[in-house]
């Protein structure tokens, strides 16, 4: 009972602080409030685990997870390299470049566009991770099969966005290019590709999360004895929950960092677009 009172007290205190802060003006409270909220959740988690004596095979405390991360950095790094760098990143680069290339290729044929786009939209909504067992059979247990799953997962969202982007120019702008006597490729390079960038980055950002999901889930179907998905399944068998949470923390960090990196490149590349101007 006292434990519950303490937890509620912490929650109410933090919430009052946040309510007060969010009434204030300026950019500092805006940054501070989410941080306080996150820290409160972590504190409550830690306190609840300790006060109620929750077994670490059900829910480990944040401090246990932190200790686990600190103790197993080499393993986590090896898993990260295997899953993220070899599986997700390779697949992401291959899938996205293939999608961009196909989008440019079918750009000249309205017939193909009208045929491929509905199919692409349809496939983008399907549970494509299910293709993982097939890829594991074809390409073996190592990172190649994971990269193959990632290629298929990121291909369609990027394709659909890139095709939409290539249509994003105004007739007026294209007319201007033809009064300059610009060839098809000149128009493409100087007008239509830059105009397609905001759309393309939209697809690229969606694809970052998909890439990581694909690489991890594909490892559930078979993997060498390294990798984030492998570690998660292996530690489940041993009820090593702190290690699983550590892997999830790494995956979350990697996912946000990957997304952030693409968003940063977008900011640099499409600085002229209204959505990037303040």
């Amino acid at each position: 009972m006292t434990a519950l009172v303490i937890l509620l007290g912490v929650w109410l205190g933090a919430w009052t602080l946040n309510s007060g802060l969010s009434e204030m003006r300026g950019s500092l409270p805006r940054r501070l409030v989410p941080v306080i909220f996150g820290l409160t959740i972590l504190t409550l988690w830690q306190m609840a685990v300790r006060l109620y004596d929750i077994s670490p095979v059900i829910l480990p405390a944040p401090s246990d997870i932190g200790a686990q991360i600190a103790n197993s950095l080499p393993t986590l790094w090896a898993d990260f390299v295997q899953t993220f760098v070899k599986g997700a990143l390779t697949g992401y680069l291959m899938g996205c470049s293939a999608a961009i290339a196909v989008a440019i290729l079918i750009d000249r044929s309205p017939f193909l566009q009208r045929g491929l786009l509905p199919v692409g939209n349809f496939v983008a909504a399907l549970p494509i991770v299910g293709i993982a067992p097939i890829m594991v059979m074809w390409f073996g247990f190592d990172w190649q099969s994971k990269a193959a799953v990632v290629v298929i997962m990121v291909f369609f969202p990027v394709l659909v966005n890139m095709v939409a982007g290539l249509k994003a120019t105004e007739p007026m702008q294209r007319d201007l290019m033809s009064t300059y006597n610009a060839s098809y490729w000149q128009t493409l390079a100087k007008l239509r590709l830059p105009a397609a960038l905001p759309f393309l980055f939209n697809g690229l950002k969606i694809a970052t999360t998909l890439a990581l999901i694909g690489a991890i889930v594909a490892e559930f179907f078979g993997s060498p004895i390294v990798g984030m998905g492998f570690r998660i399944t292996a530690e489940i068998g041993r009820l090593g929950l702190p290690m699983i949470w550590a892997e999830i923390a790494v995956a979350a960090l990697a996912g946000s960092a990957f997304y952030g990196l693409v968003a940063l490149i977008e900011k640099r590349a499409t600085f002229w677009h209204p959505s990037q101007r303040n």
Partner: protein
């Protein structure tokens, strides 16, 4: 309907490529068999034999179609080999989770729009959570809940609720904020209370956004359920069909389960799309 022709052509091209790929990828096995028996393989034999293997590297479209047909119509629906049975196991968990997840998402979105502290505290995390491979925790949730004695449909539903929750929150917040200042001022001149503004302006205005995010959410829910079926060791559900197929090299079973899952996803999204059209039409929002 203008694009029906091109779509059919593209689908036919995919089918043709698939047949060619099947012949090419399954040829090694046929050649091996023939070399062992000391007979020569002609092109006709190669084609017929590559397309009729028991466990092909790549099953041909008609084999997948037959697997799907057998799984759906060839068994009693209660049979463990029936795709209807496994599909229902997956579908029920997906629907339960989707209902919980989207209801919770709508409630949280209302809270975020009406409470500034909640907006500033929760919204950044809700957006950040979309960049995280949440699916990775699915096996852990299943196993932990199993060890607590909670089995069956609930753990899978929790995962699928979790996956549909965040898209709905983010889309619904955008939708509830879509009325412009002029419309909100109008409500104020009518002396409308917060509840009235919500019921008569914000909620109706958010419908297009809600349906868009529901479509994303239901697809995510289904993926969540399928992945949630993996770690329990292939008991029931489309995910377990995938896993047991990959254990025993039953490629046709994998492809049939995959297509069943695709059909399920497509019909769920189409169902919400239909609801969207009807609702928006009755509200006069149809474009």
């Amino acid at each position: 309907m203008r694009s029906l022709g091109p779509v059919l052509v593209v689908l036919a091209a995919i089918c043709a490529l698939w047949y060619l790929a099947a012949i090419w990828m399954n040829a090694a096995w046929v050649n091996d068999q023939a070399a062992r028996e000391g007979r020569e393989v002609f092109l006709v034999d190669l084609v017929t034999e590559t397309l009729m293997q028991e466990r092909p590297v790549l099953p041909a479209p008609h084999q997948v179609a037959k697997g799907l047909y057998d799984g759906v119509f060839g068994q009693a629906v209660t049979s463990k080999r029936s795709l209807v049975y496994h599909g229902w196991v997956t579908l029920s968990a997906t629907l339960l989770g989707f209902a919980i997840g989207s209801a919770a998402g709508i409630l949280l979105a209302v809270g975020i729009v009406y409470n500034r502290a909640m907006d500033l505290s929760v919204m950044p995390w809700a957006i950040a959570s979309q960049t995280i491979p949440i699916l990775a925790i699915a096996p852990m949730i299943i196993v932990v809940l199993n060890s607590l004695g909670i089995t069956g449909i609930v753990p899978k539903a929790i995962i699928s609720a979790y996956l549909s929750f965040f898209p709905v929150v983010v889309g619904m917040v955008k939708g509830l904020r879509s009325p412009d200042a002029m419309q909100l001022d109008q409500m104020r001149t009518w002396n409308a209370s917060g509840m009235q503004t919500l019921g008569k302006l914000r909620l109706p205005a958010s419908m297009p956004y809600l349906f868009a995010s529901l479509k994303v959410g239901v697809a995510a829910s289904l993926v969540g359920t399928i992945v949630g079926e993996l770690p329990t060791g292939a008991v029931a559900g489309l995910g377990s069909r995938l896993l047991s197929g990959s254990y025993y090299g039953q490629t046709i079973q994998i492809w049939a389960a995959l297509f069943a899952a695709a059909l399920l996803a497509a019909s769920l999204v189409a169902l919400i799309g239909g609801l969207e059209r009807v609702t928006l039409k009755r509200m006069g929002l149809a474009r």
